[in-house]
Symmetry: C2
Subunit: 466 residues, 2 copies
């Protein structure tokens, strides 16, 4: 799209929408953004819902694209690995990579979103309106209806094209679904588990009550607790637990006594540093964990879904924000192709991108099971040990599935998934069949893993599995 | 549920609803059924939409359960295999099984549905109302709102429980989805292909214009034509074709000339026996092909989805009706357990059943690709040849995936899928790697296939893939 005088309307100024506004502003488009919430830079908005997030290489690639890598870095707390806590309070640090320079970061959603808004607004051709909720989109007319939170007035806006970055509950996606004007494939899948956010408060001197540079996990097989550090010395703690199954679940954790008993039994070392547990537990909401997929993302050249509105995922790979930021990078690449019109642009973008967002959605669900259970399973631990050693010894020749997904931003999620799953299967099977052991020579191990991985991929190709 | 004085309301008197009414009537419940269409035994209803269907062992198991196996047999036309037609009009018969007594049947939807209605109505405790459309279900109050087609009056019915067998567009499922009262996982996935029904008329003497006892296929890789026989000498012919892709598609087949050109080029031997092609093509609708999955199927003990309303699938495994009939068999088994209440009954039924209906949904999509392409692929043909020989030589020791799914009604769809896919992978890989050939001794082949299949299943289990 070489005509830069186009008016683009963006619905939603969350992480994806504000980054998109910034990038399209840089490219010279006239960009208008409507956000339903107040400006988070000047208003304190609701706590208890994903206060911090994991930020890694795919997200950083987008920050490089818009030139704010250094500003974002200042907001980051590196997490080098998973710190696993057992029931006796013993801890064990499992690095995310055998390469020292590969780690993920904890970042404040609010701070990062605020930075993106400020950067976007530096462009005269970008305007952001707050407190304006989108109620519906007429995708045939390329208009959207908004309501002002204060005046309650409804108004209609039109544009050359509308991009909805309005999250998992997207108004545009709902308009696609309810219209029955074209075949719209759609899925929403909930896990049987929900989540609740809690807190480790900072020490009185502002320090951290537990090790700062890790993502802490208390894996308990059918449920888990995790904690990510914040810059102010606190940790945001999240309990993932079934709504209705097991001895303790969200439906039966109804009194301070039973909540305390549950934590005393399962997470004693965490309980020790969270005197505020009961207050947090009953003040903060319990939220659902869902995956949304759909297709098509666009209606002709009029409207497009991007970010969570097109592909909401569960948080267990720490890739939700990174995937949405990568959407903007991929969309930007298609814009570089200068296709004839928005329809060709949207079509090329979805064709290239959807396979990868489908893959990260599936990987995130896999990782739910890995995090709550497998990290404590001996054979998975032995696999992990081998992979760390391979990455350390052969940094340019081997990357685990986690590394392919998280630190290899030039490989798509789908390719990372196929290769990573085949590697996992190769290693687990060779360990089980005693064809290989973690005591073997590392060079032999690498050779065996590569040969077996390629054989698995080839067998699947012949059987037409991918 | 031992209290037989319960009032059960069934929404929809299609194949599943009428069988369910019959079975629950036999068990002594008070059953009331509401159907939106007129009584198909006395009214000629719309043609052009799945006039005949594939009926096989899982469906027959249900007919045995209700004691009407012989009456149904009289409506069946055996189809022993696929008759494949190439572009030059050459044909090749590929049997469905190496065992002579394993075949599928073509059956008239209307005749079978009529039989089930008549059998159900023989029970004084079963009442069926026609021309009453369900508009919505209040699953908290266990009431449903209906509208009479003639008087247009709306009325509300209540019951001890409501079972919705109202098909892919289910009113109850819509009420679940729109209520937001519980977490409802839901997916609708459309294929890029649609379908249109056409006809080979009978010969003037009432005979069949092509071989009667086969399911005819014209596989053309990205599209296909199929034909199933009817008792009156006609065949119902179905074209499966992309809406928008390829040289010819539903969007561009807009004139008699281009439709005739397409058939002349791709299906010349079919065109020869369908002088009525152009009329059928422009009179009959083009319909979409979709898969629906959802969960939960029930709300407490109040309401339950069954049949297509819970799991609509694409037609390529010929299992849509058979799966819905099997639902009734499985539900009947749970009733035999005499659980405490409807909630426990519905929960046990879904827990046992959903894994199998998910599996047949996925298998049906696999078979779409197999039917339009693989049946014409040399390595798939060699696999098929080997499997037919194994089934013939070792009738009790080997069953192909098709046979496990179609003729082994005591194995669940999920188990059939896992074993069948592993067998396919084993054979295709050993053929490609020249570890095995169709000229080998059959006993050696069986041994190799069994060992490799078990190794594949075991590798997947270790890797946590199922």
């Amino acid at each position: 799209m070489s005509n830069k005088q186009q008016n683009i309307l963006i619905i939603g100024a969350g992480l994806c929408g504000s980054l998109l506004a910034l990038r399209l502003g840089q490219r010279g488009y006239n960009v208008t953004v409507y956000e339903m919430r107040p400006d988070l830079r000047t208003t304190d908005i609701s706590a208890g819902r994903s206060i911090n997030l994991a930020f890694s290489d795919r997200g950083n690639k987008a920050m490089k694209l818009v030139g704010i890598e250094d500003k974002v870095k200042a907001l980051c707390i590196p997490m080098n690995g998973r710190m696993i806590h057992d029931k006796e309070g013993n801890t064990f640090l499992s690095n995310y990579s055998g390469r020292d320079y590969e780690y993920i970061n904890s970042i404040s959603r609010g701070e990062l979103n605020g930075l993106l808004l400020t950067e976007a607004e530096k462009h005269d051709n970008v305007t952001i309106h707050f407190n304006k909720k989108c109620n519906s989109v007429d995708f045939e007319k390329t208009t959207a209806t908004f309501q002002d939170y204060n005046s309650k007035d409804e108004f209609i806006e039109d544009a050359d094209c509308i991009i909805a970055t309005d999250g998992a509950g997207s108004a545009l996606r709902k308009s696609y679904y309810l219209s029955h004007k074209f075949l719209f494939s759609f899925s929403q899948e909930y896990l049987s588990h929900g989540y609740k956010e809690l807190t480790f408060l900072p020490k009185e001197d502002g320090g951290y009550k537990t090790y700062k540079n890790a993502l802490h996990i208390w894996p308990r097989s059918s449920f888990m607790l995790i904690a990510l550090p914040n810059l102010d010395g606190s940790f945001t703690v999240t309990l993932f637990l079934s709504y209705s199954e097991g001895e303790y679940n969200f439906n039966n954790l109804t009194t301070p006594e039973i909540v305390t008993e549950f934590f005393q039994k399962e997470f004693p070392d965490a309980l020790e540093i969270m005197p505020n547990l009961v207050d947090d537990f009953f003040e903060n909401p319990t939220a659902a964990l869902g995956t949304v997929k759909c297709s098509p993302w666009h209606y002709k050249g009029n409207t497009l879904l991007m970010g969570d509105s097109a592909h909401a995922i569960v948080p267990f790979y720490g890739q939700g924000m990174n995937a949405s930021f990568e959407d903007v990078v991929e969309f930007d690449k298609v814009l570089d192709q200068n296709l004839d019109n928005w329809e060709a642009t949207f079509e090329a973008y979805e064709k290239n991108r959807k396979k990868d967002t489908d893959a990260i959605a599936d990987l995130a669900i896999d990782n739910f099971h890995e995090m709550k259970g497998h990290v404590a399973n001996p054979i998975f631990q032995e696999k992990r040990k081998i992979e760390m050693a391979l990455e350390k010894e052969f940094p340019s020749a081997y990357s685990s599935k986690y590394s392919l997904v998280t630190f290899n931003e030039d490989i798509g999620y789908r390719e990372a998934m196929l290769k990573g799953r085949a590697q996992d299967k190769a290693i687990l099977n060779m360990l089980t069949d005693n064809i290989m052991s973690s005591d073997d020579d590392l060079k032999d191990i690498l050779e065996k893993v590569n040969v077996e991985t390629e054989a698995i991929l080839e067998d699947d190709r012949i059987a037409g599995l991918h």
